[in-house]
Every structure is written in C-alpha cells, then in structure tokens.
C-alpha cells in the first residue's frame, strides 16, 4: 500500500467507523451511480466557460463526457481504476466527502463557483493526495470532453477527412 492508498484508506476507515459499515471494503469496487453522481457535479465546474448556455445542450455534452469516461477507464491499469473508484465512492459518501472537501453539503448543493473553489483548494492542498486527485480528475475529464468531435466548435478545429 503506498502513501496515497494509505490516506484514502484512512478517510474511508474514519467514515466507516462513524457509519458502522464496512465502507473501506466496498470503496475499491466500481459503482456506476457514484461515478455519475460525482461527474455530474464536477463537470459543470471544470467545463465552466465552455459548456453551452442552453441547459439541454449542456446536459447532452455532460452525458457524452460521462460516457467517454466510462468507456476509457477500463484501459487504465487496475491499480489506477481502483483509486478512481475509491475517489468517486468517497466523494459520493457524505461523511468521507467531508474529509476530502471540508464541505458538509453534498457536491450538487454547492454553487458552480463553490465547486471551482473546491477544485482550486485540492490543487493547492498540502496533501499530495488531494493534488493528485485534482490532476487525475482534470486530465481524465478534459481528455474525455475534448476527445469528442462534437465539442470542437469552440476550438475552430476540424479533423481532416480524406477517406
């Protein structure tokens, strides 16, 4: 177990003790609902300024990005997949989320600006765990969003077609 897993485990165990359930055992397992719930909360912040104003269109782009994340994750090493599952599961759990965000409110209850501040706090955290969470999520989510040709309008970029 490396330092990152150790800290994650500590947060999970603390939450488990409070809840009296074995959160730690379950936290490494994939949970699609938790992942979707967390991404639905973080994507509007990360993509603030690029998502369309129209809520329906924005929702379509978020859904497409969530799907791209789901499609991509199985290609990662199992070790990294487990870390991501754990991060999503912990963020979706109110008590463990408190340990990661310092917020007692659920992520979706925060304003977009508060979610942006949260990302900034992770980025600047003295805990390398939170810095890694920031960079890991950032790269995963931006990769998923900008990998979709439907999202290239703002870049004035089109891939060549000659076949």
């Amino acid at each position: 177990m490396d330092r990152r897993q150790f800290i994650f485990s500590g947060i999970a165990l603390a939450a488990s003790a409070s809840l009296g359930i074995s959160l730690w055992q379950h936290s490494l397992q994939p949970d699609t609902d938790n992942r979707h719930w967390v991404l639905a909360a973080l994507l509007p912040a990360l993509l603030y300024g690029v998502l369309p104003q129209d809520p329906t269109l924005a929702q379509q782009q978020i859904a497409r990005t969530q799907q791209a994340v789901s499609d991509f994750m199985p290609y990662l090493p199992l070790r990294q997949q487990q870390e991501l599952h754990q991060l999503f599961n912990l963020l979706a759990n109110r008590l463990s989320q408190l340990g990661l965000t310092g917020q007692i409110s659920d992520l979706p209850e925060l304003s977009v600006m508060q979610r942006l501040e949260l990302l900034q706090r992770w980025r600047d955290s003295y805990l390398s765990l939170l810095q890694q969470a920031y960079h890991g999520l950032r790269e995963l989510l931006y990769g998923a969003y900008y990998g979709q040709s439907e999202h290239w309008q703002a870049l004035a970029y089109t891939a060549p077609r000659f076949r």
Binding site: D2, A45, L46, L47, Y48, G49, V50, A68, D71, F72, P74, Y75, L76, P77, L78, R79, Q80, L116, L119, Q120, R123, S128, Q131, Q132, H135, G136, R138, E139, L140, Y142, G143, Y145, Y146, G147, Q148, S149, W152, A154, L155, A156, Y157, A159, P160, F162, R163
Partner: protein, 515 residues
C-alpha cells in the same frame, strides 16, 4: 492480414509453441530483429501485447488512438503521478505512433558510455554502417518540405537569437504532411515497423501473435527453458483463463524500457549487478506555450521538422542539458496539458489555433544527481515506474522554461505561458524571466512529460555494471538477449528510435553469427 498472424484473444484453449527464436515485443527493437533473423533463415515467433491494426484503422482521432495504440491509454504515469509517459502498445510499438524524428546517437553520449560503462563503439564495433543501413531501410532523409508554423517558430526564434538548429530527418515515404503521426499513419507513409520490417519478416515465414502478454520467463542454471504468456482482453488487461507456453532456442526480450525490466523482474532472473529495473531514463520534458497573432495550426503538417541542440551539451557539467523540439497539437493533448480549469482553461483552449508549443527534453543519466527511476511491480504484477526528480533536474527544467520563453518572444510571440500550474500568460520576455525565476519547481506544480523511456536493463562491458553486454546478451543467461531501449545506459540527448534500430541491427548480426 496475413495468415502468419494469430490473435491470442481468439484462443479458446491452452496453447504450446516451439520455435527457434521468440521475440517479445514488436517495436523498434523487436521489429528490426524479426526481419534480420527471418532473413537469416531461422524460425521466428514475434509476440506483441497490443493489437495488429492497419492503416484503415487509423482514423486520426485521439479518442480512438490513445486507448487502442498506447500503454495505459496514453495516461501512463510515474508512481507519484508527477510525470506522464507516452509509449506505444500495438504492433510496431512506439514506432507506429511516434513523430518520425530520426537522429543518430550523439557522439558525446557514445563517449560517455565508453568511459563509464566500457562500451566501445569504434573500429569493428562502429555503429555508422548500421545507422546507414537503418536509414536506407526506413527511408530516413532530411524533411524537404518547409516546416509547419509550429516548427517554423522554433526555427525563427533560433535565427533571431543565433542559436543552433537543424532540419529533422524523418522515416517517411510519400508523406502527405498531415500531422497525425501520433495516431497511426493513415496512408502508410511513416516507415514504422508495422509497415516495413514486420510484413517483411512475415513474408519470410515468421509468425506474429498479437494481444498476448508474456508473464514469466522460466530458467534453470544459465538458460531460459520456456516462457508463459496469457491473452489480453479487449482493454489489453492480462487474462487468467488461458495459458500459452512457448519454448525456443533463444529468447529476445524487446518489450520496451518499462516492459522488459518488468518481465525480467517477474521472472526473478539473476541480477548480480543490482541494476535490473534501475536507472530508467525519460528525457523528462517541460513545455512552454505561446500565443501568436497569426494562426499556427499546430495540428497540421509534419509534427517535428526542426530541433535545436543549442543547450544539449552545456560547458558547465553541473547544468542539465536539454534539447528543444515541438510537439503536434491536438485537442486532447492540449486540453490535458494546458493549465487551470473552468473559464481560464476554456479561454486558453479558444486560442487553440494560435498556440505555438515548444518542448525541452532534459538529457538525464549523465550526472550523480540524475540516476533515473526504478521499475517496480504492482499487486497485479504490472509495472509502475518510480522516478524521483532531483534538484539538479528541477534547476535544468527552470533553465529550459527560461530558454523557451526567450525563444518564443524572439519568434514574435504575443504572450508566453510556461506549463506550470502557478504560471500565467506573460506579455514580455522580461516579465516571463522574472516570473519563471520564482516559480516553485515541485512535482505536480511543474508539468513534466516523457515520450522516451530508456534503460532498466543497461548494457555494460563489466557484468558488475549492467544487465546485458555490449551485444545485448544477458550477462548471466546464455540464451537470452535484450534488444530494445532498455539496454541504453543513459538517456541519449536525441530521440531514440534510430539508436535502437542501429544497435539491434548490429546485435542481430552478432547473434546470427553465433547461432
């Protein structure tokens, strides 16, 4: 696809193969070896963990290319997540996805290997004829077309400042100047192993097995006796339901500088020098973006056509040298590397077509404070590279950020953005210089990437200082060779493919003469 190709993921029961030579990995090392040995008339079995794609599969989209053609979906990271590593995992290895830059091993690097590792590449061992053979085989020539704007800015900056620069030699034939080399060449112009040596080896009777992961070499005394492999699933994860056993007279490991040491470590091979999996080098690379008034369109045109060696071999040996190049600019590559989030990131992405990007590749492995990284195995027995960044390297990176900003302003940049998470767009060289001098050089704050993995099974004349000898033969096991970038005892100070081609070509001639 040829009938000499087997897709291991289609196997429905355990398999056993016998051959003269088995080659594990089909990149720059394995690809050259397959053709050389097939030409010598020996029975060759070539194994590749990735899939066997052809030009029709290469759709020029990152969302397909990264998961299907790269190790760990192009999201490979060092243990502490501080360095991102681009490395191929497909038939042809990194040669299928590299940016075609072909540079001979710099003489000072060979000199260093001679003095530190007793490796003598002069006289009968001169690599020059092998560089020439590889250049002829893979159509390596100076790029005759004017550079795209991204490369032209590197050239113009050098001209303004009086810095050295060179036109890059590329391994292409009939290149249409598209700019999508990193996603697999859609017109077979790039002379990767996928379209050159591997089809030639198959035509000579070699067999290729794709989607196979070699888990262990079995050994007794001073010989490898067999190997065990498994198929990979649709996500390239090793499966456990089917076992493949292969027996050969000679075993060539060419799984890349992370994969090869990992296989030897999994197999508990003798390691009396203590250097197996150690001293892995990366050419740690830092990035500088620049906004220009005119369109740059860095996605279009040969990705690399100009480099500068102004700073590779500094007079002061306490300074880390670095090579200046540019990368191709595509949406995912840009979005994941540009700094910030929310509106700030969106605003940078909107300048996509006006961004010029320069990279500086540090020459690691030539200083006591630059001893590289260590390949380790995780719980699933998969490799993970631990690469601590020393103060010597951080200071080299700061010098590199300074040089790139100076160059970009000299080339006419309106604003320069060092890719560091505490940096911002600077409007003048003076402003950038002051800011860069005070940026905290710390992991995760300073973005570091690598596209060149080297070392981990280093060659040396003395068995006490390396894993293999000068011919790539394992010092302890008589029927084992390592033929890939993992045998390099330091980084190169140049893009590695041509060095690997020449070394392996030469090593194959040695091996054939002894079979």
């Amino acid at each position: 696809m040829t009938t000499n190709h087997l897709d291991a993921s289609q196997f429905t029961q355990h398999q056993q193969f016998d051959t003269d030579i088995v080659i594990i990995g089909s990149g720059a090392g394995g690809g050259i070896a397959a053709e050389q040995l097939a030409q010598a008339g020996v029975k060759v079995l070539l194994l590749e963990e990735g899939a066997y794609y052809s030009r029709d599969d290469f759709v020029m989209q990152e969302r397909w290319a990264y998961p299907n053609l790269y190790q760990e979906g192009a999201a490979r990271k060092t243990r502490d997540q501080a360095i991102g590593i681009l490395q191929g995992r497909t038939v042809g290895g990194s040669t299928t996805v590299n940016w075609t830059t072909s540079i001979r091993t710099p003489q000072p690097t060979l000199n260093y290997w001679h003095s530190e590792f007793g490796l003598n590449f002069t006289g009968d061992n001169d690599l020059t004829p092998y560089f020439a053979k590889a250049e002829q085989r893979l159509n390596i020539h100076p790029w005759p077309i004017p550079p795209n704007a991204n490369n032209a800015k590197l050239q113009q900056g050098c001209e303004q400042l009086g810095w050295q620069y060179s036109v890059i030699n590329r391994n292409v034939n009939g290149c249409a100047n598209l700019g999508y080399c990193g996603m697999g060449c859609p017109i077979n112009a790039k002379q990767s192993m996928l379209v050159s040596t591997i089809p030639a080896a198959l035509a000579l009777g070699a067999t290729l097995i794709s989607r196979i992961s070699v888990r262990q070499l079995h050994w007794q005394g001073n010989s490898i006796t067999s190997l065990t492999a498994v198929p990979v699933d649709q996500y390239f994860q090793p499966r456990t339901d089917i076992k493949i056993s292969i027996r050969a007279k000679h075993y060539i490991v060419a799984a890349g500088a992370i994969g090869s040491p990992a296989l030897l470590l999994r197999s508990n091979l003798p390691d009396p020098s203590g250097r197996l999996g150690k001293h892995t080098y990366l050419h740690p690379t830092v990035i500088s973006g620049a906004v220009f008034d005119e369109a740059i369109n860095g996605h279009s045109g040969a990705p690399q056509s100009i480099y500068s060696d102004q700073f590779v071999w500094p007079d002061n040996s306490e300074q880390a040298g670095f090579k200046l190049e540019v990368p191709p600019l595509h949406p995912v590559l840009m979005a994941t590397k540009l700094i910030g989030h929310g509106e700030a990131h969106a605003a940078l992405m909107q300048q996509f077509n006006h961004l010029q990007v320069t990279i500086a590749l540090l020459r690691d492995g030539f200083h006591p404070q630059s001893q590289g990284g260590t390949v380790q195995l995780d719980d699933a027995q998969q490799p993970v590279l631990d690469y601590p960044i020393s103060d010597y390297l951080w200071q080299g990176m700061r010098q590199a950020l300074l040089a790139m900003a100076e160059l970009q302003f000299a080339a006419g940049a309106k604003q320069v953005l060092p890719i560091h998470h505490d940096a911002k767009l600077y409007r003048s060289w003076a402003e950038a210089k002051t800011a860069i001098q005070s940026l905290p050089m710390q992991k995760l704050k300073q973005t570091v990437v690598s596209a060149h993995v080297m070392g981990g099974c280093n060659m040396s004349a003395d068995p006490a200082k390396g894993v293999v000898d000068q011919n790539g033969r394992h010092h302890q096991l008589q029927n084992l060779s390592v033929f890939d970038g993992s045998i390099l005892p330091t980084s190169l100070g140049a893009n590695p493919q041509l060095t690997i081609y020449a070394l392996v070509w030469r090593n194959c001639q040695q091996l054939i003469s002894m079979l």
